[in-house]
Symmetry: C2
Subunit: 469 residues, 2 copies
């Protein structure tokens, strides 16, 4: 299959007009129940539940077999036992479905030799019918752009729609990151676990997401280990600079490495070699789930800094110190304001304030408009490449927070990255934070330390890929 | 004042039978409104709002001045302008209040020389009346043990009651950490910002919390800079091993350092010297707000490990690999199970599972009881000093999550530290996680990486302080 063909096939797989759920169920204890839950009521196309016994599943007419479905089926989501997968895939081939999500586990990831044989047969069928198969051993995929949740985890629908595609070799890590994404407002285009990667692997997904998926602006990978890492590296290198690609690579420890072999059937390999290869391929490497999400979110919403010089503006002095410390730790610099910038800031703050970088905006606390004017002055400063903006609100300052939101909405988007940490107790300012996040080139992250880490990754991104397109 | 006397005075200050709010207000824009909000409806003792104009504030009879209050006033919370503070403190002295929380700012933290003079006078008054004064330039304190919120941030009442005292030199960082504590279920005894530390400073608080405050089991400090750091270091050294003390020290960067001088009127000082001094004093140093909270929470709820050997048990393979990687990064080891332990685990897992450390419990996923038996076997293993236990749940596994909770409740507390990461989408398993957290010697943290970091700090704690009392 050429990649152009594969891109077409993946486009069909991710935007089906109809979906059959083979192994659909009304029983809560079956994954086929939860796949139906994810689709029913959300998916706009036709759903065909397939189950030899049921008449209606989730209130939708079911068919005893795929071949009984009187219409075209674009995507088949398979949740039958491993022993029934071969005949099910044949049925899909004969029905001319355009793609398969194979949730069933028990293939080459199991110690038993039988799993290896099943997987070998599966690949032969995929070739024979020229069918893209996501999995086996996957929870499925979610296309947030089109509102299609072809997975057994219905809660992934709570993730906001946006530009980040998360492609994970592990279902567990994808769940962890997906749940964190809900809480931390990382807006996504797609979320998927590759499972055993029958014929939809990292290289195919990278090429598809970069070349053929407009909704995706940033690609975040979670990688454990690959049989043919060179394919991923070469594909990424050939796509370098077209869309940001970042990766969290597991398997640093020897034990973690051998765990990988069992998990998805491949060795993680030497971590240092991976680090070098990722850098060479122009993939930005991160070191934690938090960092993966923060960096992807910032890459999607912010401009890239033209240099390492950062201004820290804080409504409270303490968090500003912490951000300054954290910048030093990630080897960025506090910028030195030009005279004109300093004068503007001096005019906005009473003399009792620290008006040099880091700027304690505390004395302007009751004047959110002035705080934003300081922000604008810092962004416009010629010696400043990015800005960290910090403010902690509680109910006592709620009016000020609301004023900040009002003035912020009226601003033009910032042409330099602005990474904010706005915190407030649960329920106090949540909706405003939701509205402000990822707007005007500003992202909001959880702590001052994390703003600095994300800023350093934006600078690394600029060095790797040049200016943002 | 001797420290024994100071301990008595602080005990009174933190457990007043009556509180006067001087500067109480019915106007949302005044801090005196928010202090009233924090107290009214929560505080069980008598509240006396003081305001020259108001008849009732928050529905409570107000007095025009403190001297008009016909009863004993134990604590005065002062929120009047800086120019009125001197006469107000004199009034408190004459009324024989037992302690003052001075929220008003505008003392030595401002650039104006006038602030320095005001603060000098304040110290003289404190000496003259033998009065402990928290602040000036503080948001106040919260005593969660007794449900007293003497601060302008009413939401701090949402923090759960527990053993962690957070003493911060910065109001902003204390707000950040307090809000994170609500979300992350860090249970606290006290929370306060020292502000300009008139005569209640780190040494006084440390001694009081260790010697006289039974509710406090772990002390978490946020430090910017001190005029007399030796006092803190010597006090901590003299209390070494009695209760765990951990610290997050700001001012690593030169600029952060000079910011500190303005913020609370003192230099942060050379970071390396601080690191050495903290170690010498037996204070465990952490490097982020997340780490401060995670470590304090784990120290409060968990046993300390007898060594650096950790078992990783994961319901999904990916997070187990990540935890193994993270353990290597923090220089802990994956334990090697004794033959008897390995046999127990082998019997609980089918042959298709990775049964050596890290243990992929995936094949026992539908048997939460077996997962907990594996946990028990790992805790009892002679070659294992602590256990990391990971499981990601969603609605598809809700019954399993509920079973896990049921079996977990029936267990005896673990005598080795168990640090868990249980994640689920918002609203799915929140209440269970709340009920399970900090029970049976288990804490639940946000990510696999953070479980490893917290475990390494428990091991450092053991090396610093010996076994937990």
């Amino acid at each position: 299959m050429t990649q152009a063909t594969m891109n077409e096939k993946l486009r069909d797989l991710f935007s089906p007009g109809s979906i059959a759920v083979i192994g659909a169920s009304n029983s809560f204890d079956k994954l086929g129940y939860h796949v139906m839950k994810s689709l029913a009521g959300n998916y706009q196309g036709k759903i065909f539940p397939i189950n030899p016994k049921a008449e209606k599943i989730w209130g939708i007419d079911a068919y005893r077999s795929l071949k009984e479905v009187p219409e075209q089926v674009d995507l088949a989501v398979i949740v039958v036992p491993a022993s029934l997968v071969a005949e099910t895939v044949h049925a899909c081939g004969r029905k001319a479905v355009k793609g398969i999500v194979l949730i069933t586990a028990g293939f080459r990831e199991i110690e038993d030799a039988k799993g290896e044989v099943l997987e070998h047969d599966l690949r032969a069928m995929a070739d024979r019918y020229d069918l893209p198969i996501v999995g086996p051993n996957t929870f499925g995929y979610v296309n947030l752009t089109l509102g299609i949740n072809a997975s057994f985890t219905s809660e992934f629908c709570q993730i906001e729609k946006g530009g980040v595609a998360l492609i994970s070799q592990s279902g567990g890590m994808c769940h962890l990151c997906g749940f964190l994404a809900i809480d931390e407002r990382v807006a996504m285009s797609k979320l998927m676990s590759l499972g055993n990667r029958c014929n939809v692997d990292f290289p195919e997904m990278l090429r598809y997401l970069v070349e053929a998926d407009e909704a995706t602006r940033v690609i975040a990978l979670y990688i454990e280990g690959l049989d043919a890492p060179r394919d991923l590296i070469e594909t990424a290198a050939s796509l370098r600079g077209k869309k940001p690609i970042i990766a969290y690579k597991a398997g640093r420890s020897e034990k973690g490495d051998s765990a990988s072999r069992f998990h998805t059937g491949s060795l993680a390999g030497n971590h240092d070699i991976w680090t070098g290869a990722l850098r060479q391929a122009g993939i930005l490497q991160v070191e934690s789930a938090d960092e993966l999400l923060d960096t992807a979110k910032a890459l999607d919403a912010c401009a890239l800094p033209g240099g390492p010089r950062v201004a820290v503006l804080s409504g409270q002095a303490g968090p500003g110190m912490i951000a300054s410390d954290a910048l030093e730790r990630v080897k960025l610099q506090l910028s030195r304001f030009a005279a004109a910038t300093q004068e503007k800031i001096n005019n906005l703050l009473p003399p009792i304030a620290i008006r040099t970088n880091p700027v304690d905006m505390g004395p302007a606390w009751y004047n959110p408009k002035a705080m934003l004017e300081i922000l604008q002055a810092a962004v416009e400063d010629e010696g400043t490449d990015g800005v960290i903006f910090l403010a902690m609100y509680a109910s006592a300052n709620l009016k000020l927070a609301e004023e900040l939101e009002k003035y912020m909405k009226a601003l033009e988007p910032f042409r330099k990255p602005v990474i904010a940490c706005f915190t407030a107790p649960p329920g106090i300012w949540d909706e405003s934070i939701k509205r402000l996040d990822r707007q005007k080139g500003v992202v909001i992250l959880a702590t001052p330390e994390r703003t600095a880490k994300a800023m350093s990754n934006l600078w690394k991104a600029r060095l790797l890929w040049g200016e943002k397109r």
